[in-house]
């Protein structure tokens, strides 16, 4: 390679390489200021969107798969035994929004905690912001006063977070919360009282509104079927008998006389008018699952009122 050839090589190969290196250096500070970011989707206002309901939300993978599964099992186990609903969100940053505001938006949207009891707790951790918060729904503010929440953050969570052991800190924090909730006289969880964990009952054993709507439908089906058959055989009195019977059973099952009367009345109408009426009731009664459904079988009770209880902490 002669000198001319080398120069040509330099101009073709080295100059672009130098240029690329310069670009990389120029881009460095910009990358540095962008470092604090999260994989959680952002809204149009630049704030982190309320994530879909889940026991453990970890968009930036601070927890190993095993740790995440372990925490989920722990939370699910506590809900089964004691009924209270707890959830954890860990992410890199809240993009400049105070963690309190973010946590409150989530709490307001999820409303975790049983219907009529409202026993929910939300733990949020923003790792790069070095901020964490325990949000306590109003009905648990007696069991977990702000000071107790603050102490749990200080003594159980922050020491683990300092050495980047996020799963350990959250787990230890949960143990502290579990102990406080267990000490409170709340109705037991579904695992103790009711074989069907999908159905929530309030203190008096009644089935909550949405569940009731869902469970009433089979009654209408069976009632309308029997009612139609009997009406053909016996006329209107047959429909009355079936309607009364179905209503009575429904009132016993739901522990509510009103529900029984309504079911009975609907069955009577269905028996007389058949399918068109049934369609009408489906349209009127067939509400979607609303905020209830979440991933991994987690279903918010919708009772938690997050109005600022709990504490924040830093590490």
């Amino acid at each position: 390679m002669n000198a001319k050839g080398f120069l040509r090589f330099a101009s073709f190969a080295l100059v672009p390489a130098l240029f690329a290196a310069l670009l990389a250096i120029a881009a460095q500070p910009a990358l540095g200021s962008q470092a604090r970011s999260t994989n959680a989707p952002l809204g149009s206002d630049g704030l982190v969107r309320v994530p879909p309901l889940a026991r453990v939300t970890d968009p930036d993978h601070y927890l190993s798969a095993a740790d995440k599964a372990g925490l989920e099992a722990k939370l699910a186990g506590f809900e089964t035994s004691r009924g209270s609903q707890l959830a954890v969100i860990i992410l890199t940053t809240t993009m400049g929004e105070p963690l309190e505001d973010f946590a409150h938006r989530v709490g307001d949207a999820w409303k975790i905690g049983r219907k009529g009891i409202g026993d929910g707790v939300l733990i949020t951790v923003a790792v790069q912001d070095h901020a964490t918060r325990i949000d306590v729904a109003r009905s648990l503010e007696g069991a977990i006063p702000d000071l107790a929440a603050s102490r749990i953050i200080r003594e159980r969570m922050a020491p683990h977070f300092l050495v980047k052991d996020y799963a350990g800190g959250i787990s230890s924090g949960l143990d502290g919360l579990f102990a406080l909730i267990t000490a409170e006289a709340l109705p037991p969880g579904a695992g103790n009282a009711d074989a069907n964990p999908m159905v929530q009952r309030d203190q008096r054993g009644r089935v909550g509104g949405e569940d009731r709507l869902r469970m009433v439908i089979p009654f209408l089906f069976i009632g309308a079927f029997l009612g139609n058959a009997l009406r053909r055989g016996l006329g209107a009195p047959g429909a009355v008998v079936v309607a009364g019977g179905t209503g009575l059973i429904a009132s016993l099952v739901f522990a509510s006389a009103l529900t029984g009367v309504i079911v009975g009345f609907l069955v009577f109408l269905l028996s007389l008018f058949g399918a068109p009426m049934f369609l009408a009731t489906q349209v009127l009664g067939g509400r979607g699952p609303g905020i209830g459904m979440g991933s991994g079988g987690f279903r918010s009770g919708g009772g938690g009122d997050f109005s600022g209880g709990g504490a924040s902490g830093r590490w």
């Binding site: 309190e100 409150h104 702000d146 109005s307 600022g308 504490a311």
Partner: protein, 200 residues
């Protein structure tokens, strides 16, 4: 027969009123009242905490007297405002109340900022507990305020729409004064803004 007609008239009147949104106005007004009660009770909770804070700070040798006096004065001013349910319908009185509370908020946050300079206070568990309580109360206040703002908005929009606006006019329901957010912000952030902002 006459009784029947009276009953019919009563039922008619009730259904007409319900159709005109009278019930809706009632329930929204109730929502505003209860949201307001929550705001007031959270402010009260804060006022109740302050004497303890003041006492624990007083124990600190050579604590900035000026900061302390500001808090005491602001509390006295805030608690001197008579809180009645009618306050939500009186823009001037509401403004006065919110201003007093806003000044207390800023005096308190200044006090907490100043307290960071005293290592013995930072190490004092009693003071740190009070601090946690205060922060929790401030957090509750801001949420209660937001809910109140939403309730008032809901009410004001509802009574300004047809046909409820006619009902509202007939029964003398007026739009309620809203929180003036800009003023509040200015009052509350004033002391924290001048940290090294290079003001001359």
């Amino acid at each position: 027969m006459r009784q029947m007609r009276q009953l019919g008239l009563a039922i008619l009147a009730a259904s007409v009123l319900a159709g005109c949104g009278y019930n809706g106005i009632q329930s929204r007004e109730q929502a505003v009242q209860s949201a307001w009660a929550e705001v007031v009770s959270q402010y009260q909770r804060r006022a109740d905490l302050i004497p303890n804070v003041v006492n624990s700070v007083k124990g600190q040798a050579n604590f900035e007297q000026e900061t302390l006096t500001q808090v005491i004065d602001a509390r006295a001013k805030a608690t001197s405002v008579q809180v009645t349910p009618e306050l939500v319908n009186d823009p001037a009185a509401l403004q006065k109340f919110l201003q007093a509370q806003g000044q207390l908020t800023s005096a308190l946050s200044h006090l907490l900022a100043v307290s960071e300079r005293y290592p013995t206070l930072q190490a004092n568990q009693g003071f740190q507990d009070l601090r946690t309580e205060l922060e929790g109360t401030e957090n509750r206040i801001s949420i209660a305020r937001n809910r109140y703002i939403k309730a008032v908005e809901d009410y004001n929009v509802y009574i300004s729409q047809l046909p409820q606006n006619l009902t509202a006019m007939a029964f003398g329901y007026k739009a309620k004064p809203q929180y003036t957010v800009e003023n509040e912000k200015a009052i509350e952030t004033a002391p924290t803004v001048d940290f090294g902002s290079g003001k001359k």
